[in-house]
């Protein structure tokens, strides 16, 4: 058995040379001073592989078009076992890779490891940093929620500000006019088709260069005997990788990545925020205004990148001990303070509302929480076309007051009187009276009392089937026996979670003849038109559990 194994090994080795290549790789000589400070490169490479892996798994259940992206992601999060974990790993992995890449660069920078002959290694590394950030930018759009949409609007507009190249860049990104299918396809294509091979190529080149010049020794190290890469340094790299992975895994499990509401280009109240590692750029932009804006958005970042690439040519002295590299240290401190200050300022200026409004839409959305009565209010709200005169949040110049401002809502009785004879309650108003019955006005008032800035868009987006379903629910007085979202009676069973208990066909058959499906039921039969039956059932099935 053993002999046979040896035979196979020899055959493979003779034909491919894999074993000796691996051996050569592992038994590479490294300076005696190598150690824990050099683990970050390996960790970054590992995290890249985790991203590739989780990214591929997500792609298996993800439809990369604006029409489907959001729903398929929601499907991953709510329907698939382990889907939330996969997305968590991919999401937090993206942040982590930025952290680790920066740590890796800091180490190289502080030790001066970019010096002759390792300038090219450093420059390739800077390009890899830029690629890492490019993943962040393109991946940001892919959930196609409000955050993604508005973040990308800003990104593409910044790209458009670049001198000379701006308009072409914008066209390349498909960002002319509205952000839509074209931009989406370009971003997805970049994210999964162009960036990964580029990254792999540059990573291989980077490692090749590291191997070619050897791991950078500390000054005075040359005299000491070299050691082998394997197993001691591999062990240290592995420990670091394991720690990084453990942190990543814990974050993916414990920190829920929210999915905001579906991208809404008409949502004028949305304040986009970039990913945390771009916040400093976002804040810096605020320091420049008017014609100087391009300085903050393009010129300064461009210069910073150029400076970073040229580091090995600016600092050309001999290698010295880390502790003697005061200037480099001062530089790092300065950059850290600048970055930290700008980021802190950006975080502090984030308005509270947007945080509170970050409802996790992978769970039930706002309109699902409304009572049937309030839902019906939406129907009359739409029928009476209230938005032709009233704003719903934002700063649209409308005739009537903004209905999301809680201050204008009195109590229901006042509102109903106001609907009937607007001028009696608010002298001089140009609002026409609303011709609805008392019960209908009641619903309208109930809905308006629920309306606020935070839920306005979500409620405005309530699908028509649900509104129609609620209307049927009300006109047939289902609430006289049943409970929905905590309102109604308990004579019949509560209807939340119906979808978990019964199939659609069962429910529809049950409407037609309750006693047949549930012997002894006292519910009267309901002869509903097919469309009504469908709407009502869909509405009941959409209720939260």
């Amino acid at each position: 058995m053993r002999r046979r194994f040896r035979g196979v090994n020899e055959w493979v080795e003779h034909r491919t040379g894999i074993q000796s290549a691996v051996r050569q790789f592992l038994y590479e000589e490294i300076p005696a001073s190598s150690g824990w400070h050099q683990v970050f490169g390996s960790v970054a490479m590992f995290l890249f592989m985790v991203q590739a892996f989780t990214g591929a798994l997500l792609a298996f259940n993800y439809a990369p078009t604006p029409g489907d992206a959001y729903n398929s992601l929601r499907y991953i999060l709510t329907e698939l076992t382990g889907g939330r974990l996969m997305r968590g790993l991919h999401h937090w992995g993206a942040s982590m890779i930025v952290v680790v890449v920066v740590l890796h660069m800091l180490q190289v920078f502080l030790y001066g490891a970019y010096k002759k002959p390792r300038e090219a290694t450093w420059m390739v590394g800077v390009v890899l940093l830029l690629l890492t950030l490019a993943y962040g930018l393109t991946g940001y759009l892919l959930p196609w929620d409000n955050r993604a949409y508005w973040g990308t609007v800003v990104t593409t507009q910044i790209a458009a500000q670049a001198p000379v190249l701006g308009p072409y860049l914008l066209r390349l990104l498909g960002g002319e006019g509205e952000i839509g299918v074209v931009t989406f396809a370009r971003f997805y294509g970049l994210h999964v088709l162009l960036l990964p091979p580029a990254t792999i190529f540059l990573m291989v080149l980077h490692i090749f260069l590291v191997r070619k010049h050897g791991v950078a020794p500390l000054p005075g190290d040359e005299a000491q005997p070299k050691k082998k890469f394997y197993p001691q340094q591999v062990f240290k790299d592995t420990v670091a990788i394991f720690i990084a992975f453990a942190i990543l895994f814990m974050m993916a499990v414990a920190v829920r990545v929210p999915l905001e509401q579906l991208a809404d280009p008409t949502d004028t109240s949305y304040i986009p925020r970039p990913e945390w590692y771009f916040l400093f750029l976002f804040q810096m932009l605020k320091l420049f205004s008017g014609p100087l804006e391009v300085v903050g958005s393009v010129v300064l970042p461009g210069l910073a990148v150029l400076l970073l690439i040229l580091v090995p040519f600016i600092d050309r002295g001999q290698m010295v001990k880390v502790t003697r590299r005061g200037v480099a240290l001062a530089f790092v401190l300065l950059a850290a303070i600048g970055w930290g200050g700008l980021t802190a300022a950006a975080v502090r200026s984030t308005p509270k509302e947007t945080l509170a409004a970050a409802v996790d839409f992978s769970g039930p959305t706002d309109w699902m929480q409304l009572s049937p009565e309030e839902m019906v209010g939406i129907a009359y709200f739409r029928k009476e076309n209230c938005v032709s005169c009233h704003a719903m949040g934002g700063h649209a110049s409308a005739e009537g007051p903004d209905l999301t401002k809680a201050s204008i809502h009195k109590d229901a009785a006042w509102m109903i009187q106001h609907f009937k004879r607007p001028s009696a309650m608010r002298p001089g108003t140009s609002m026409p009276p609303i011709q609805l019955t008392d019960a209908q006005l009641n619903s309208l008032a109930a809905f308006l009392l629920k309306l606020n800035e935070k839920n306005a868009t979500a409620l405005d987006n309530a699908p028509d089937f649900a509104v129609q379903g609620a209307l049927l629910y009300q006109t047939n007085r289902c609430g006289g026996c049943h409970l929905v979202n905590g309102g109604g009676m308990r004579i019949g069973p509560p209807l939340n979670g119906l979808s978990k208990r019964q199939s659609r066909g069962w429910v529809e058959a049950h409407f037609a003849d309750p006693a047949k499906m549930v012997p002894g039921s006292i519910m009267p039969p309901y002869k509903l038109a097919p469309k009504d039956l469908e709407n009502l059932t869909s509405y009941l099935f959409a209720l939260p559990d």
């Binding site: 076992t81 996969m86 001691q232």
Partner: protein, 168 residues
């Protein structure tokens, strides 16, 4: 920490090697097992059996299969789609009605009824089925699949598609 050298004794070296394999095994398991679950576990689908009315069978001739088309909604991943579907419906003696799924049990081609010969023919590899779904000739391994059926007067309702052999 004294830098370990080549001749340091194998126990320390062994510790490194074991630790390296151990850590990587743990990482692979923590990534691989959830990945398998994610790919292999069925989605938490909600609705199951549904009865769909597909039409009037009052005027069907006895023992003469007819292809009936109908629409049904199906949960397809993150979408609920409404799609066209067909069934071969055969009216037997009495109130007996059978509805066959439209796919050949060999490799899934669409078959059709040959009126002159009195059997179902699958053109792909020439499987023949009798009007009761039994295999007459060809490579098909089992009789045609049947829908669950239910009659509401003359209106036929179809349920799940199942293989008559599994039903036993």
């Amino acid at each position: 920490m004294v830098p370990p050298s080549e001749d340091e004794g194998t126990s320390r070296r062994n510790f490194y090697v074991v630790a390296i394999y151990g850590f990587w095994a743990a990482i692979s398991a923590a990534l691989g097992l959830p990945a398998l679950v994610y790919l292999l576990f069925p989605p938490k689908a909600k609705k199951v059996d549904e009865w769909i009315e597909i039409g009037d069978i009052g005027r069907l001739a006895l023992n003469s299969p007819v292809e009936m088309t109908f629409r049904r909604t199906r949960v397809d991943g993150w979408k609920v789609i409404s799609e066209k579907s067909t069934a071969w419906v055969v009216k037997g003696a009495g109130d007996q009605v059978t509805a066959f799924g439209p796919q050949c049990t060999h490799l899934g081609c669409a078959y059709h009824w040959e009126e002159s010969k009195g059997h179902f023919l699958c053109p792909c590899h020439t499987s023949l089925f009798a009007s009761d779904g039994k295999v007459v000739a060809g490579p098909a391994p089992r009789p045609l699949d049947r829908y669950q059926t239910r009659l509401n007067g003359n209106r036929l309702l179809l349920g799940k598609l199942e293989s008559p052999e599994k039903k036993s």
